[in-house]
Subunit: 198 residues, 2 copies
């Protein structure tokens, strides 16, 4: 039906998270209508990004410099280390603007069935860094999922002998969240971590 | 926070229909993980598509040849003409595989308030083509929206003097629905229950 060039573009676009075959087609047509202002700039941006952006050799963040902007920033506390599963989690923390230490990106969580063990997540590299940088606190900022919690427990065990403080993010009611939509696990965690206000 | 290359990519991706800032960021990260199998091929596909694909000078379809594949196909009946608003509507009809005539893409529907009148939609070109190709039937395959129906009525009035049959898609099309989202069965029913209006 359509040109092979369009078919190929739609097929590649539909592999992006959040785009199915139909929305990929809509995206392709939207770009063909804005060839010079969207389609060609996007082609350039993809190539520039693919060439310039690489994982930071220290923390695993993605940036066009190595070490990345976070690792190079002398204002940031190298002795507080936040461990996240993925780069998007690091970015979520940075968007919040609440953390002034450094990061370690695991690149996933422990999943024995998928063959993802401590080696795949660079656990030895994490331990080495904790020793080398004389880290005082490791904050395990992993999701409150089965995989995330399994990984947190494992890392806590491995980090304990090093003598640094190890913490995990608090569980509770999300800000803006309504109780009626929360699951029992969250409510249970929220009740147990209740804080005295009077 | 992130590299300017990533920021620029995310900004462009978030201009695609169906992607907001968060999903654009997810898409960018997914591509950075598959640089050689997804990101660079997508950059190439965008450029190839932008260079090769252009509107057909006869019907307005997008293809890498001019006239387009539909207009060049000698198996297709040049004397039955299906008028659609957008290229995605033409593709929706082609996906259903139920129509063996030719198309005319208007590029929109009449919207006086937005300055879209008969000239913008190439109505004279449509009338000329109906005369030239001795078209026997014009099928108005416009959405069952206010704009679509206004445009259908207008076109029916303009086409009436030419002596060809003018029909519109049957009311299998849900009111308020757009062609590009319809399933093949609905499109098939709509084509078969088309009604003569002039």
């Amino acid at each position: 039906m359509a040109a092979v060039e369009i078919d190929r573009l739609v097929r590649l676009l539909s592999r992006l998270p959040g785009l199915g075959p139909r929305s990929a087609q809509r995206a392709a047509l939207a770009m063909l209508k804005r060839r010079d202002t969207l389609m060609l700039p996007l082609a350039d941006a993809l190539r520039a990004c693919a060439e310039a952006v690489h994982p930071c050799s220290r923390c695993g963040n993605l940036d066009s410099t190595d070490p990345c902007g976070v690792c190079r920033d002398p204002q940031r506390d190298a002795r507080t280390l936040c461990v996240v599963a993925e780069v998007e989690d690091l970015w979520a923390m940075e968007r919040a603007g609440i953390f002034k230490g450094r990061y370690q990106v695991l690149g996933g969580t422990l999943r024995a069935l998928d063959g993802i063990g401590p080696d795949e997540l660079g656990v030895d590299r994490l331990l080495g860094r904790v020793r080398e940088d004389e880290v005082r606190e490791v904050i395990l900022a992993l999701g409150a999922t089965v995989d995330g919690q399994t990984t947190s427990h494992y890392l806590a065990e491995r980090l304990r002998p090093l003598g640094c403080t190890v913490s995990r993010l608090g569980h509770g009611v999300p800000i803006g969240g309504e109780l009626t939509y929360l699951d029992e696990g969250t409510l249970d965690a929220a009740l147990r971590s209740r804080q005295r206000v009077a």
